[in-house]
């Protein structure tokens, strides 16, 4: 059983050392949203480095800016100020098309809602993004089967979303995200809509992906089950990282 995370306030002083270059890096990120006539700051001068091969969890109360941070680190949104580096690439310097290309080649996403196309079978859902990578049907089917196998859904490959449970749908969504073997995997509240068993299974899968493929898995969640399984937990509050805790054995995958 893992020990309970120890929350600390000074990031630079308490973050455990991690060998190797970070795969995701935020430098003094700022982001604010306009609500009516008022400008509401969401992220304030936030700096952060995330390493590959780990399941990193960003946790914090609702509205603390954790989803915004995920969207900036994944290139879905651009910061008002500061820089984001992903796999050494300055995301702010990329055009919209180059950013889409970067995401196509290197990133996977898992969202709280499963967002599967009702018309497609599980296998086709996973195959779909692979086609945009220029893969032929045979190769994409092979990759998709491998991904479905990894999430334990080989037997359900021919089923449509209406025939799958919530947990199975989320596992299809994970298979869709990992089929192209991305170096970066982003997950936003992946277990929130799931029951205990399904949630646990999803956590295990995300953890295994990080460990076995060396993928950078960045997860945003307030699910306490995830906190126990994460290699590293970043505590956020009021648009800033307030704590950074790492599993004692996380540096030796």
């Amino acid at each position: 059983m893992n020990s309970a995370p120890t929350m600390v306030s000074d990031v630079s002083r308490t973050a455990a050392p991690r060998p190797g270059a970070p795969s995701l890096q935020a430098l003094e990120l700022q982001k604010s949203f306009v609500s009516g006539v008022v400008q509401v700051p969401v992220l304030r001068q936030l700096s952060l480095a995330i390493h590959p091969g780990e399941l990193t969890l960003i946790s914090g109360p609702s509205g603390c800016g954790k989803s915004t941070l995920l969207s900036l680190l994944s290139g879905l949104q651009r910061p008002d100020a500061g820089q984001t580096f992903a796999l050494g690439e300055d995301l702010g310097a990329l055009s919209q098309r180059a950013l889409e290309r970067f995401r196509l080649l290197h990133t996977g996403f898992v969202f709280q809602g499963f967002n599967l196309f009702p018309a497609l079978t599980a296998l086709e859902q996973v195959q779909l993004p692979l086609g945009y990578l220029g893969m032929d049907a045979r190769e994409s089917a092979r990759q998709a089967r491998r991904a479905l196998d990894e999430v334990g859904l080989t037997q359900r490959a021919h089923m449509r979303p209406a025939q799958l449970s919530g947990g199975e749908k989320q596992r299809v969504a994970i298979a869709r995200a990992i089929a192209k073997s991305p170096q970066l995997l982003f997950a936003d509240e992946p277990t929130s809509a799931l029951d205990a068993d399904s949630g646990q299974r999803v956590i295990d899968i995300l953890h295994r992906i990080a460990r076995t493929h060396g993928t950078t898995v960045l997860c945003v969640s307030h699910d306490p089950r995830l906190v126990r399984h994460a290699d590293r937990v970043l505590g956020m509050e009021d648009g800033a990282i307030r704590s950074d805790w790492r599993q004692p054995d996380a540096t030796t995958p």
Binding site: S67, T68, L70, S71, S74, L76, Q77, R97, E100, R101, F102, R103, L104, L105, T107, G108, F109, F111, Q112, G113, N115, L116, F117, P118, A119, L120, E124, Q127, L128, P129, G131, Y132, A137, R160, A173, R176, A177, D188, E189, S192, V220
Partner: protein, 378 residues
């Protein structure tokens, strides 16, 4: 590549039905409208198309067959002098007033066509059976369209009055309905007698047959070069004169503008309804599209998906509309409604329908605006 557009269309066909019907209705409206226009205004050229003549000579500048004016009798001679012309015959056109013996009341405006009654007569050769042409030889004998019998308060075998001259309906045929008045056929002698006066002796047109139809254009060119010593006249080939008559009614009477206006309205309504239905479908899948965009599928590629869906809807709508149009036009033809369709017109209608579907797809791409992956983050 997974055929997402096609698979979605098949799996969620109920959501696409309104869009397919909108395209189908646009198709039916365009096709039926075009067929009515061709049918109604095509009857302006009925006299040319129902006749076997290759050349028509009439008063210079005549806009349509029914606006003919008397030309010199020597025009017949001038045409006959051309070596490529095999035969000529005069056509006497009389704007007249018909009074039936039944029902009483006022007169009906009719176009009386005086034609040659010999078996090899060119005028209305495609409409009249040999016995009908022969029946016109009896003085005062006339033939009318079957559909005009009630308008003219006449019966086959019954009597009537044209410009105060007694006539007898010897036969009724199909396909003689005209534009602006009922068509009545008679012999040249009967027409001249009804017209009365010296002017009636002159023909309104002289039609000619060439040895081969290909020679018609050469003869026309030769005659257009001038015929000194003969009265004023102009020569057209049969297709030219038919087209000229039709275009006059279509363009110079304002009818064409009205038709174009209706085409515009049909296309606009079709596009709006189809794009709204399609946009609802796109917006309904916005979250799924947003995930694809997050995974790196470009907005351009997503736009292509919407256009592909629009093309499928356009194709299905066209199929549905095509079948419905064919059925409706067949019913119209059976019922004697003046409709006509040509391959070129059908192709033009299909092209407009395809345009409606494509424009709808382009407009529906606005639905992708809602597919922002950042909105999926909570």
């Amino acid at each position: 590549m997974i055929a997402l557009a096609r698979k979605t269309l098949i799996h969620e066909w109920r959501r696409f039905v309104p869009a397919v019907f909108a395209v189908g209705f646009s198709c039916v409206l365009l096709a039926v409208q075009a067929a009515l226009v061709l049918g109604i205004f095509g009857s302006a050229a009925l006299y040319v198309r129902a006749s076997g003549a290759d050349l028509w000579a009439g008063y210079p500048g005549t806009q349509s067959v029914n606006f003919g004016r008397a030309i010199g009798r020597d025009v017949d001679l001038r045409l006959a002098m051309d070596p490529a012309v095999a035969a000529t015959e005069p056509y006497v056109w009389v704007d007249a007033d018909w009074r039936g013996t039944q029902g009483g009341g006022g007169g009906v405006s009719v176009y009386l066509s005086g034609i040659r009654t010999a078996p090899d007569g060119m005028l209305f050769s495609r409409l009249l059976a040999p016995w009908q042409r022969e029946a016109l030889r009896t003085p005062g004998a006339v033939i009318v369209d079957r559909a005009d019998l009630s308008t003219l308060s006449a019966t086959v075998g019954g009597n009537a009055w044209i410009n105060g001259h007694a006539v007898r309906v010897v036969a009724a045929v199909d396909g003689l309905r005209g534009l602006g008045g009922a068509n009545v056929l008679s012999s040249l002698d009967t027409a001249r007698e009804i017209a009365g006066g010296n002017a009636a002796a002159n023909p309104t047109y002289v039609v000619a047959r060439t040895h081969s139809p290909e020679q018609a254009a050469q003869v026309q060119a030769r005659l257009a070069a001038g015929a000194p010593g003969f009265g004023p006249f102009e020569v057209w080939t049969a297709p030219q004169f038919a087209r000229r008559s039709q275009l006059y009614w279509l363009l110079d009477t304002g009818a064409g503008v009205a038709v174009l206006f209706m085409v515009g309205i049909v296309c606009l309504v079709g596009t709006v309804v189809t794009s709204q239905s399609l946009m609802a479908v796109v917006a309904g899948s916005a979250r799924e599209y947003a995930v694809l965009n997050a995974l790196g599928v470009s907005r351009r590629a997503l736009g292509r998906l919407v256009i592909e869906q629009a093309c499928w809807i356009g194709g299905l709508g066209l199929l549905l509309g095509g079948i419905a149009s064919a059925g409706l036009l067949w019913i119209a033809m059976v019922q004697g409604v003046p409709v006509a369709m040509t391959p070129a017109t059908a192709l033009a209608c299909a092209g407009l329908v395809a345009l409606v579907a494509l424009l709808s797809g382009l407009l529906a791409m606005r639905g992708l605006m809602a597919a922002d992956p950042a909105l999926l983050l909570r």
